[in-house]
Structures are given as C-alpha cells and as structure tokens.
C-alpha cells in the first residue's frame, strides 16, 4: 500500500481519537476537508481553538460558558427558588430544549462511582451545599440519569440536602410519550406503576 502524505495521515489519526469515529470515518472526513477551500479549514481550526481558549466553567453553576457567570445564571427572569442538579453540562442543554424548566442549574461534574474512583469529593457536592445555604432555593430537582450511579447520587444528595430544610425532588421514571403500553419493557412499566400519580379532579 502506498503511504499517504504525512499531514493527511496525522489528521486522520487525530480524528480517529474522537468518540464514535473510527479510522474509515476519519479518512472520509480528511479527504472531504482536503477538497474544501482554505477558508473552510481555517474556520474549523479557529472554532476548535476557540473552544479551548474561550470556553470556561461558570463560577456559579459550573456549566460551560464564554462569559462568567453564564447566561442562565445572569438571567434575572430565572426562578431562583428552583435549583436543578445535573451530572454534565450536556444535560443542561437537553433540559433547556424542553423550555419547561425555568430555574437555575448546578453541574456536579459526574456521578458517584467508586469503581471509577469517583466519590463525593471528586464532584462539586461541597459547592452545591454552599449554594443551597446561600441562595436558599425552596426546591432542588435532581436530574441524574436513571441508571445505578444516577440513582445512588440522587439518594446521597437528597440525604445531604433534606436536613437543610429544602424540598428535594427527582425526575420521574416512566413511559415514553407516544409509545404503547404493551411495547414498554416490564422494568420501565414497573417503574411507571411505582411512580404513578393521582389525577386532578
């Protein structure tokens, strides 16, 4: 096999390090870029550098932002009585897309998982307690993933927060909207039965 020009190979190697991208996809991306005008490549390179140079962590909620504090923390229309705890900044983007939640956020930076060396001290738990003390929200909504680590983190936090006199809630587990009951797996269905709610009169 003929060897590929050095810069081509090195960019393929870089792309292939990215999640979900294998060597074939990496090569396709590189040959696509090779065919583009120089300006396209320059703006991609700049966007990547700006990501590292301009994006930092918000000093209040620890989400990612260009300006500190972030847009959400600065927004006076945001309800200060509600504080939503998430594992990662990407979870904020998912919740914001719904447009339903109007409170503020707190990013833990992960979930408790001693198997991966992550205990409460490796997450922004102390910062959360401090915020609840200062901002005294009336409710903390814990929005961790419905897996074992998310469940343990949620319960741990609620045990930590409840003595501070704040209401702690967690996102409901349940059925996908638009789905059909008999297609739901038993485990999801069992959780949905557990988490059922009384209909208003």
């Amino acid at each position: 096999m003929p060897s590929i020009a050095g810069p081509v190979q090195s960019l393929i190697n870089e792309f292939a390090k990215l999640p979900t991208i294998g060597p074939k996809t990496a090569a396709r991306l590189v040959f696509y870029l090779l065919a583009q005008p120089r300006g396209e490549a320059a703006s991609l390179a700049e966007a990547i550098l700006a990501l590292k140079d301009k994006v930092r962590s918000c000093s209040q909620c620890f989400s990612i932002t260009e300006d500190d504090p972030c847009e959400i923390c600065r927004d006076p229309r945001r309800d200060p009585r509600l504080l939503c705890v998430v594992a990662e900044p990407k979870d904020i983007f998912a919740l914001e897309r719904t447009g339903v939640y109007r409170g503020r956020y707190h990013v833990l930076g992960g979930l408790i998982s001693p198997m991966e060396g992550i205990g409460p001290d490796q997450l922004r738990v102390r910062e959360l307690i401090a915020r609840v003390g200062q901002e005294s929200p009336s409710e903390v909504v814990i929005a961790t993933n419905p897996n074992a680590e998310g469940e343990a983190t949620a319960l741990y936090l609620s045990r930590l927060l409840q003595p501070l006199g704040v209401t702690v809630s967690r996102l409901a587990y349940g059925l996908p909207i638009g789905g059909e009951l008999d297609y739901a797996d038993e485990v999801t269905l069992a959780k949905a039965i557990e988490g059922r709610r009384i209909l208003e009169k």
Partner: protein, 369 residues
Amino acid sequence: MIVRSVTLGSFRNYAALDFQPSPGLNLIVGRNAQGKSNLLEAIAMLGTGKSFRTSRESELVQHGQSLAFVNGVAELSHGSVTLSCRIVSAGGVTRKTYAVNGAPVRFASFLGSIKVVTFVPADLLLVTGPPSLRRAMLNATLAQERATYYADLARYAKHLAQKSAYLRTATSPDPRLLATYNALLAELAARLLLARARYVTQLTRAAAAIHRRWIPGGAPLSAVYHPSPALRDYAAGEAELRLQIGAALEEALPRELARRQCLVGPHRDDVELLLGELPLAQFGSQGQQRTAVLALKSAEYAVLRERTGEAPVLLLDDVLSELDAQRQEAFLGSVEGYEQAFVTATALPALEIGSAHYVVEGARLSRIR
C-alpha cells in the same frame, strides 16, 4: 413450547447452521469437540439471552469473525415467536442486540421469551458445591419468569460492586454514602429475598414429591432457604423486610469497614439440602446426593412450568452419560409434560430414547433417525 428452527451464523464452531428440530426428545450424538454443547448453548441463548457457559461473550463469536447471530422460531401456547440475538465483537468490545418478531428489544424484554431449563454436568455438584451454584439455580428460574427479578438482581449487583469498591478504596469512608448504598441495597434485597423464599418453598414441595416417588418410605428430601441476613419471618412483607435488612446492614457496617468487604445480603444467600434432618452435603452418600440433584432439577422444571403455564424446553448437555440407566430413566420419566428436549451424548445412551437422532461432526448436523 417447541423450538421449530434454529439458525446460527458465525456462532462458535458453526459458520452456518440451519436446524429444524423435532418435537419430543432430540438426541444429539457426536465425538468430543464437534459442537454439541455449542448448539445447546445457542438454543439456551434464545431463552435467556446469555451463555450458560461463559460470561466473556466475545468467545461466542467464531474466531476471525466479528458478528455472530442466533435466530430461532418457537411455538408457544399463544402463537409463534421469532427471536434473534446478535453478538458483535470488535476492538475488545462485545455488544449484544435482541429482536422479538423483528422488532428490536432490550435484554429485559427478550429474556424469558421462551423458557429453558438447562442441566449440565456442573449441576451435579449442586448439593456439595459452593453456594454460588445454588444461587444460580434460584436465579435461572426467577429471572426467566419475571424481568423485574432480573432487573432487581442486576441493579443489586451494580450497587454492591460500587459499595465494595468504596469500602476497598476510600481512605476515610463517608458514612452517608455507605448509608445511601445500604438503603438502595436493602430495598432490592427485600424483593430478592421474598422472591427467593417463595420459590424455594415451591421447589422443596415439588422436589420432595418427586423424591418420594423414587424412594417410597425413605427420609424426605427438603430444601431450606438461608437468606443473608438470617431472617426467618417473610410473612411480614416487603416493607418490613426492608427495615430488617437495613438494620442488619447497619449492624454489619463496623465489620464491613474492618474487612473492607460487603458481608451481608443476597449475594451471600444459600440453600441447604436435607435428607430427613441431616444435611446432604455432609452426610449423604454420593448416590443420595445425585438422586437429590435429579429431584431438584426435575422440580425446577415443574415449578417453572407451573408458574409460566408453558412447558419449558429441556436442555441436557452431557449429563445422561453421568447417570446409570436406572437414573436416566427415572429422571426423564419425572420431567412431566415436556414438549421438547435436547439431549447430547458422546455415544448412544443405553436407554432407548429420542424421537429424533442427530449426529454432529465438525459443526455439521445430520439426522440419522
């Protein structure tokens, strides 16, 4: 239930196989290392979604390949079902995907689509072997019967692994995190304990009846559930059990911290087998132990059948040759109302059995009768 077809692709030593089994007993004969166990393993996977031999599932994919599949069509009392399990193994990662009637489903929905009872030579150690064998016996039936049992078990294992890692690695463990794990574990343990207790009650009744038929007037066989923590009164219900388990976990915490290990919970459960008053493991003769195992396996079949209303597929890998002709006959005669069985052997058994006979030679199956 009856498996009508099994199709394999790049599964173990089978590059491709299209097998239409018969109703009744399928006897599969072949020399060593020809693919008998591999075929039974594949059929079992259609029921349990997992290998009964290995937890490293990359082994299932034929050497040199990256995708294996097991497809099957089975007939149940309410109609036929098409099952498919694909195993993709590449770059050190193995993933399985499942489909029922062509629609992709999660493991929890695939599991138990058809019921199977497997009996392998390792089960002959059920009486004398380690407690993990007896816990596996409980789990095999309960997980096939209810997806929620399997989900509870998997979640229990996950939290337990996290708590163990925390006990092992934390320099000054946070008591609130340990209390969190204990609360989660107690909730799951209460459900597992109740399900196991009820199952053992049913199992011991069925096993005793079978045993009595074989050895009339002999000392009665019984199975006694020993949960961890050692609770006795299950009638109080789940909420009360959760409190009691929670208290036991709290009480065990100083010892757990000292040993840096999880010492209490269903991962420490056991089932003791008795003949009359005497524990079979210490006092039973080899023959008595073997008879007890057969009664238990036969009871396992009866209970799964009773609970699900379907006759499970019976899979006997290499066990007949471990039994004398009299026991072979007694066992097969005691498995009531099976509609289909797969039995492997390296030579034709002494017993005249089987509605269809096959020979496996180098991953090729041919019917000889």
